[in-house]
């Protein structure tokens, strides 16, 4: 188990390095941070001077080296758009995104898993059809459109929930529904297929031959197996939510990392964007790592490798 975790961790580091390099390369080529830092109306000499100060006239690989070593010392740099240390900014925006992501995942789970399970237990029934229709519809609805519709319906016409901001728990209800709806299809299908597969498996036949049935069969023999793949996907989904709730956060005016990233992009604050890309990638890697260990804990077969 320990070796397993160690191997995964080394791999995660490799991935992190590659991803950070990709982010650095992709976003460095197209921009000139020096001009941005110099501010409006700066003379070319000043820009050149800043460029020198920042080491921007060095070869790209050397720049990457400096960048990396700064990060490893905990120095994420200072945003010239926000005029604050990037680390502070990230920590400021993190709680909203984290809360939103967790809430959305929670919403997705409480809808998707029961629905997927029931759909699998009664294939081709009305509830199965309903679940599949829901999945297909949720998949086809643009996030921002759903957000606007929910604002109109539950924010204005029937004003139950607050529409924008992130001040209270209630503010998270609509965004969590919107963001959660995005994951419902995948998790539900996975649960459905998982339960369907497990129900048709030889060991469930064995369990039924032993006299297990109904809820006890489900809880004692089915769910753990059926939900194994869901764990991995949940990690992926949560990772994407942490990095991808740009639209939801924008429409609901929530001050999370997603909108922060969007603002930084359109603000041309590429160093901050680079840092965010790396951060999201690291979060993602960490989550999948976690999911892997969780999976290994749940599924003894994996512990051998």
């Amino acid at each position: 188990m320990l070796r397993y975790a160690g191997k995964r961790a080394i791999l995660a580091v490799l991935v992190a390095l590659t991803v950070s390099f990709a982010a650095f390369l992709l976003l460095s080529v197209a921009t000139d941070p020096a001009a941005a830092i110099a501010g409006e109306g700066a003379e070319p000499e000043v820009i050149e001077q800043i460029r020198e100060q920042l080491g921007l006239n060095q070869p790209l690989l050397a720049q990457y080296g400096h960048w990396l070593s700064a990060i490893s010392h905990g120095d994420l740099g200072t945003s010239y758009y926000w005029r604050q240390p990037v680390s502070t900014l990230i920590l400021d925006h993190l709680p909203v995104t984290l809360t939103l992501a967790l809430a959305a995942t929670f919403v997705a789970l409480i809808v998707a898993i029961p629905l997927g399970t029931i759909a699998a237990l009664y294939p081709n029934s009305t509830i199965d059809r309903f679940a599949l229709t829901l999945a297909v519809s949720a998949q086809a609805t643009p996030t921002f459109w759903l957000a606007l519709m929910l604002i109109i319906l539950l924010g204005v016409i029937v004003p139950i929930f607050p529409i924008s901001g992130d001040a209270t728990g209630w503010n998270y209800v609509l965004p969590a529904i919107v963001l959660g709806a995005h994951s419902v299809p995948a998790i539900m299908r996975l649960t459905r297929v998982g339960v369907l597969d497990v129900m048709g498996s030889d060991y469930i036949r064995t369990a039924r031959a032993k006299g297990l049935y109904g809820y006890r069969l489900l809880s004692r023999q089915v769910m753990r197996n059926a939900l194994l793949p869901v764990v991995s996907v949940l990690a992926v989904q949560l990772g994407h939510k942490l990095g991808g709730s740009v639209i939801t956060e924008s429409v609901f005016a929530m001050n999370g990392l997603g909108r922060f990233a969007l603002q930084s992009i359109v603000g041309g604050d590429i160093p901050t964007v680079q840092m965010l890309v790396v951060l999201f990638a690291l979060t993602f890697i960490g989550l999948t790592l976690l999911a892997d260990l969780l999976n290994a804990w749940l599924d003894p077969r994996l512990r051998l490798t």
Binding site: L11, A209, G211, L212, N225
Partner: protein, 619 residues
């Protein structure tokens, strides 16, 4: 009938229908039998005969959509028909009647410990507390021959070998000491040597616990060893039933006779096996007459008019045929005899392997450490012109790796393979293809499902640029005829063909380039007995007509005994014994060969081979 007591299990007029898309599959029809306490019944049949459905129907394990009907279905005092699922699960399942399955690898839940799965059988029924259940589990595992039983409880299924898993499975089902154990192909997935020990164990347990047993199998050998009564099923019907002795030594139904005759038995080299033409029909429509009529050479018009009734051929020996008792025995045609002589192997070795070794490095993950695995270890082997050399071994013995090396598809680490004296690796792929070709085991995966039969057979010619499109088509048709396939299948896709037909296509593809030698890797092990005989006969025919030589890789000693000329036994990557067939099979010297031979489930009450040869529909 003088049943001493009321039977333990009584089944009358059992039928199972399964909806398949718009139509209905009549999987089991009108099956009746009974079983006394402590009695063992073997249900035998080929794939599609309905034998598994019958056992699942008894255990209430049919798919949800399936429909079960019967006039009587009774286990002891329980009327199974009157019980709903929950009641059955509470009071019958695993308490009175238990079942073990074919796949020990997948029949245990992989994420829970053995201990949990064993004790659960008792705790869910409340027949014992967790502690007692645990003790009982240890006792049972001990009894069943699982070493170190106590510590096994904390292990997970994947940590056990297949044989051990099957034992755990048996233990799990015996926790509540049921009256009846149904074993559905309990040994099919296991190696021969393990198979024997499991069957032995079942027999012992049955006697010890006074438990009745239903053993479902396609293998008459397996069944004949361990049961009192046999029921032969064909196309969803029970066509013959009786004591083992009655059914095996004087089979009455033409199908039973054919089945018995198709079992590969030792015979003169080159002699053809008797076989039943065709395959088991899927029954979407209820048959108007006898379901076997299409494959039966004794069929008459009235056979197709109405379902034949059960006839009695003695006490408790029933068969479903209109032919009078023992009529099929006398009017027998013998099998076609060998057409040609066996070529002597003086012409030197055609395919020759010298000291071939191959080691694999098994690596776990991107950063895992490598582990060496010797798949083939210093193997030398020769196949001479016209020979049929059998390479025998259990799974994991390295025989398939050796096959790939001999085909030139994989390089060996050491040693050399030569064809007609030339090193195989010096021969270009195109040239090599014209010398040596493979025939594989699985008729389902050996054909590209995206290509028509014609495309598959013509592909080698096309690739080699032989002839025009028209020429190639003609050649394909010729070869199809040679392997006994109708020309109309040329435009069909593999899924539309039966297993036997597919294997014929695979052979056609292999011989279309006119190679000198075929390497047949378990060519019949996925086929039913009756079809197996057809394919073995085809191989013999082709050898005679085309002068082919074969290297026959198999685990089935019966097949070896039937058609091989020489035998090599492989064990853990090495050839432990080789020589003339008779020498090896009759006087084995290597201990492994001896174990192997002992494990073979030979037919008890073997019928007179000549009489059996005269069975219906033999070619």
């Amino acid at each position: 009938m003088k049943a001493p007591q009321t039977p333990l299990l009584e089944v009358s007029d059992l039928s199972v229908t399964l909806p398949v898309r718009e139509s209905k599959l009549h999987a089991v029809r009108g099956v009746s039998f009974s079983l006394a306490r402590g009695e063992a019944l073997g249900i035998v049949g080929e794939s599609g005969s309905g034998k598994s459905m019958t056992s699942l129907a008894l255990m209430n394990l049919l798919p949800k959509s399936a429909e079960r009907n019967a006039s009587v279905l009774r286990l002891g005092e329980h009327d199974l028909l009157a019980m709903d699922q929950i009641e059955f699960a509470k009071s019958v399942a695993a308490r009175r009647m238990a079942m073990i399955f074919q796949e020990p690898m997948t029949s245990l839940n992989p994420v829970y410990t053995i201990g949990r799965q064993l004790t659960e059988t008792m705790t869910i029924h409340g027949t014992a507390g967790p502690k007692e259940a645990r003790e009982r589990a240890i006792d049972l595992l001990d009894r069943i021959g699982v070493p170190d039983a106590k510590n096994r409880l904390a292990q997970y299924p994947h940590e056990l070998s297949g044989g051990l898993r099957q034992r755990v499975m048996i233990a799990m089902m015996l926790m509540n000491a049921p009256d009846l154990l149904i074993a559905d192909e309990p040994t099919t997935a296991l190696d021969v040597t393990v198979q024997a020990s499991i069957l032995e164990l079942l027999a012992e347990l049955r006697k010890e616990l006074g438990m009745a047993l239903i053993l479902v199998s396609h293998d008459l050998g397996v069944v004949s060893q361990s049961v009192d009564k046999i029921a032969v099923m064909y196309a969803g019907e029970l066509i013959e039933t009786g004591t083992v002795k009655d059914v095996l030594s004087s089979p009455q139904h033409p199908y039973t006779r054919g089945l018995l005759a198709s079992i590969p038995a030792p015979r003169g080299t080159g002699e053809r096996l008797p076989s039943i033409p065709g395959t088991v029909p899927p029954l979407f429509a209820l048959p108007s007459g006898c379901t076997f009529a299409d494959r039966c050479s004794y069929a008459e018009t009235k056979c197709r008019a109405a379902p034949p009734p059960m006839q009695s051929a003695g006490e408790g020996h029933l068969y479903r045929c209109i032919l009078p008792l023992n009529t099929t025995g006398s009017s027998v045609r013998t099998a076609v005899s060998a057409k040609s002589q066996i070529h002597s192997h003086d012409n030197g070795s055609l395919l020759s392997a010298r000291n071939v070794s191959r080691t694999f490095t098994v690596r776990a993950g991107l950063l895992g450490k490598g582990k060496a695995l010797k798949a083939v270890d210093d193997v030398s082997l020769d196949v001479a012109q016209g020979e049929i050399v059998a390479l025998v071994g259990e799974s994991g013995s390295g025989k398939s790796t050796l096959a790939r090396i001999l085909l030139g598809l994989q390089e060996s680490d050491r040693g050399e393979v030569t064809i007609s004296g030339r090193p195989i690796l010096s021969i270009s792929p195109f040239e090599r293809a014209k010398l040596i070709q493979p025939v594989f085991q699985d008729p389902y995966s050996s054909l590209n499902p995206r290509k028509t039969i014609g495309q598959t057979v013509m592909r080698p010619l096309e690739l080699h640029g032989i002839g025009s499109a028209q020429d190639r088509r003609k050649e394909a048709e010729r070869v199809m005829e040679l392997v006994g396939l109708p020309r109309r299948l040329l435009n069909n896709y593999p899924p539309q063909l039966s297993g036997g037909q597919r294997q014929r296509v695979a052979i056609a593809r292999a011989i279309v380039l006119q190679p000198k030698i075929l390497i047949c890797d378990e060519p019949t092990s996925a086929l039913d007995v009756s079809v197996q005989a057809q394919i073995l006969n085809l191989l013999l025919d082709l050898r005679d007509e085309l002068g082919l030589s074969y290297l026959l890789i198999t685990h089935d000693l019966a097949v070896v005994n039937c058609i091989a000329t020489r035998v090599a036994v492989m064990h853990r990557g090495r050839i432990v014994e080789s020589g003339e067939k008779d020498a090896v099979l009759r006087t084995p010297r290597d201990p492994y060969t001896q174990t192997l031979l002992r494990s073979v489930q030979t037919m008890k009450f073997s019928a007179n081979p000549r009489a059996a040869d005269g069975a219906a529909g033999l070619q």
